[in-house]
């Protein structure tokens, strides 16, 4: 039987290298072609997982511990599918966006390719050390992308991002070292029963280190300081990639560790701590998003807030009845997917608006509603998901989370979610409102190519339709 797993990692590596060699023009075309291929690979993998449960693949025929094992279960397949789905329209978008920026474009495709390879590998890795490597690669590629356009702002942001990510991955690696010291294994599969059997204090320390490292990389409040400048300052396709996917990679790992590896040692108090940080993120991020004057910074702070929703999953799913935990878990994952799609669309739309108007302040986008209604519509649709209004994926996620919170009688999270939802509505409509304002006929306005607008709409629609096909995602997620 054909196994798509290694190809999902190899394909981006290959096209990234080729794109580096051949330059952006042919590289871009190649990337698009390969991305279509990857999407189908991910789809095949999803089918296989649904049909046959968890799949393992030993790279080069070498098994653990010396060789590298690849593993695909429901969660990782969902993430893989999400990644390819988001990157493909973004590739089209990027091709249109970078017209006339040959300099930036030169490294865009290779870096994106490596980023994608790292990410796919991360989702498929089945041991904690491999995960460290992919994590580090991911971080480096992402930093490269942030620094893509050059200039003081982006470089500073990239530097800050790099330091943060290095600190995070170092902490993670220390955790890995401690784990190995205790159990002599790094395989997720092998470690799980060992931890369940006996967990000395060192393991708790390792867990704290690994989780904290990943939280730093996920930009959970109050460690979000690096995110807004990095995501807000990068070119729009890069921001979209970073906000939609890169932080999700580290969150995916937190999920993995929390519910898989460290499930025996996590406690309700710890979950409440994470939830509290998440709540802080929701409120603080939304509040700051509301106060921003620049469009992309607003969207970036919105990411800070939305990351908070993801962390609400922990108090809702930890130590609760199986049903509640299931609901919360599904809600959390759906939120990851919905936010990924919506945030990609949102950043892309913001980029399109900025391109069209030539200004990056929110006050500059007046008249967008009449000039590029399609983009604004896409932004609004993505906003619907971010606000968690029906029938979007964000709503389905919020529904499940709310349901879990009510069932477990943790009303304080309900308050946070509701208030956060209202705040997010406030900042989304802050933009929409401005877009509806009339503008003088004389204001310069650049017409947008069609390929800059349609991928955004596609992404936004996907985030919306997710609410209607949520059950499919959940069935894939549940495939064990």
């Amino acid at each position: 039987m054909f196994d798509p797993m290694p190809w999902l990692i190899l394909s981006p590596l290959i096209w990234a290298t080729l794109a580096f060699v051949h330059g952006p023009g042919r590289g871009g075309r190649l990337a698009v072609a390969c991305l279509i291929l990857q999407l189908s690979l991910a789809a095949i993998l999803a089918q296989q997982v649904i049909a046959g449960g968890v799949r393992m693949y030993a790279v080069g025929g070498w098994g653990a511990p010396l060789g590298i094992d690849l593993m695909a279960d429901g969660l990782s397949t969902v993430m893989l599918l999400l990644t390819q789905t988001i990157v493909l329209p973004l590739a089209f978008y990027a091709r249109a966006y970078f017209v006339g920026h040959a300099n930036s474009l030169r490294y865009f495709w290779p870096l994106t390719g490596y980023l994608l390879a790292a990410m796919n590998a991360l989702f498929l890795s089945s041991d904690v050390f491999n995960i460290y490597v992919t994590l580090e690669l991911l971080g480096l590629a992402a930093v490269g992308l942030v620094a893509l356009v050059g200039g003081a702002g982006p470089i500073t942001a990239a530097m800050r991002y790099l330091l943060a990510t290095l600190l995070g991955s170092s902490a993670y690696l220390l955790g890995v070292a401690l784990l190995y010291g205790v159990y002599g294994s790094v395989s997720l599969v092998a470690l799980k029963p060992l931890i369940a059997a006996d967990a000395p204090a060192t393991v708790s320390l390792a867990a704290a280190l690994m989780l904290l490292g990943l939280m730093l990389k996920t930009a959970l409040f109050p460690f979000h300081f690096w995110l807004p400048p990095a995501h807000g300052g990068a070119p729009a396709p890069v921001s979209a990639l970073l906000s939609a996917l890169v932080i999700k990679a580290s969150f995916y790992l937190i999920l993995r560790l929390w519910f898989d590896l460290f499930a025996p040692i996590v406690s309700i108090t710890a979950a409440q701590l994470l939830g509290a940080l998440g709540a802080g993120a929701i409120l603080w991020g939304s509040f700051l998003a509301l106060r921003q004057t620049h469009l992309k910074m607003l969207v970036a702070y919105s990411t800070v807030a939305q990351v908070g929703y993801l962390f609400l999953l922990f108090p809702l799913a930890t130590g609760m009845s199986a049903e509640v935990a299931e609901s919360a878990w599904q809600g959390g994952v759906l939120q990851v997917v919905a936010h990924g799609l919506a945030k990609a669309a949102m950043f892309a739309a913001a980029g399109a608006m900025i391109t069209a108007t030539g200004r990056d302040e929110i006050s500059g986008i007046a008249g967008v509603a009449t000039r590029i209604p399609l983009t604004l519509f896409a932004f609004a649709l993505a906003g619907v998901t971010i606000m968690g209004l029906p029938p979007s994926g964000g709503f389905a996620a919020k529904w499940l989370l709310l349901g879990a919170a009510l069932a477990s009688e943790q009303w304080w999270w309900i308050v946070v979610m509701v208030v956060g939802g209202l705040l997010s509505a406030a900042y989304v409509f802050k933009v929409l409102r401005q877009a509806f304002l009339p503008v003088e006929e004389t204001a310069s306005f650049q017409l947008l190519p069609r390929m800059l607008e349609w991928p955004i709409l596609l992404l936004a629609l996907a985030s919306l339709v997710l609410g209607l096909v949520g059950i499919e995602v959940l069935s894939l997620l549940g495939a064990a």
Partner: protein
């Protein structure tokens, strides 16, 4: 005190030292160096772990090797970025840390 423990403790000390540097030192070069010290601490720990039960365990060795490669790549990228910052800003620090006491000039 077993040698593994010595390695572990030393490694931990180095890690904490490095972390403190990374967090507290405003100068970028120092931060990068501090990161490397952190990395060294971890590697030391892994190497210590590798000699469990008298027989050498190849897995941690492989991990350390991989780690070093990753650390070098990261250091290179960090240095490149730091250089660019120096070219643009005239100093090697992040804008929010302008008030640092540290006066190391390159």
């Amino acid at each position: 005190m077993s040698s593994a423990l010595v390695y572990a403790l030393t490694g931990a000390a180095l890690f904490v030292l490095g972390m403190a540097g990374l967090i507290l030192q405003p100068h970028l070069l120092r931060k990068i160096l501090a990161f490397n010290i952190m990395g060294s601490g971890i590697f030391l720990m892994l190497v210590g772990v590798a000699q469990r039960a008298g027989t050498p365990d190849p897995v941690p060795q492989a991990m350390v090797l991989t780690g070093i490669v990753v650390a070098i790549a990261a250091t290179a990228l960090a240095l490149a970025l730091a250089r660019q910052l120096l070219d643009m800003n005239g100093e090697m620090r992040l804008p929010e840390e302008k008030t640092g006491k540290d006066r190391l000039d390159v």
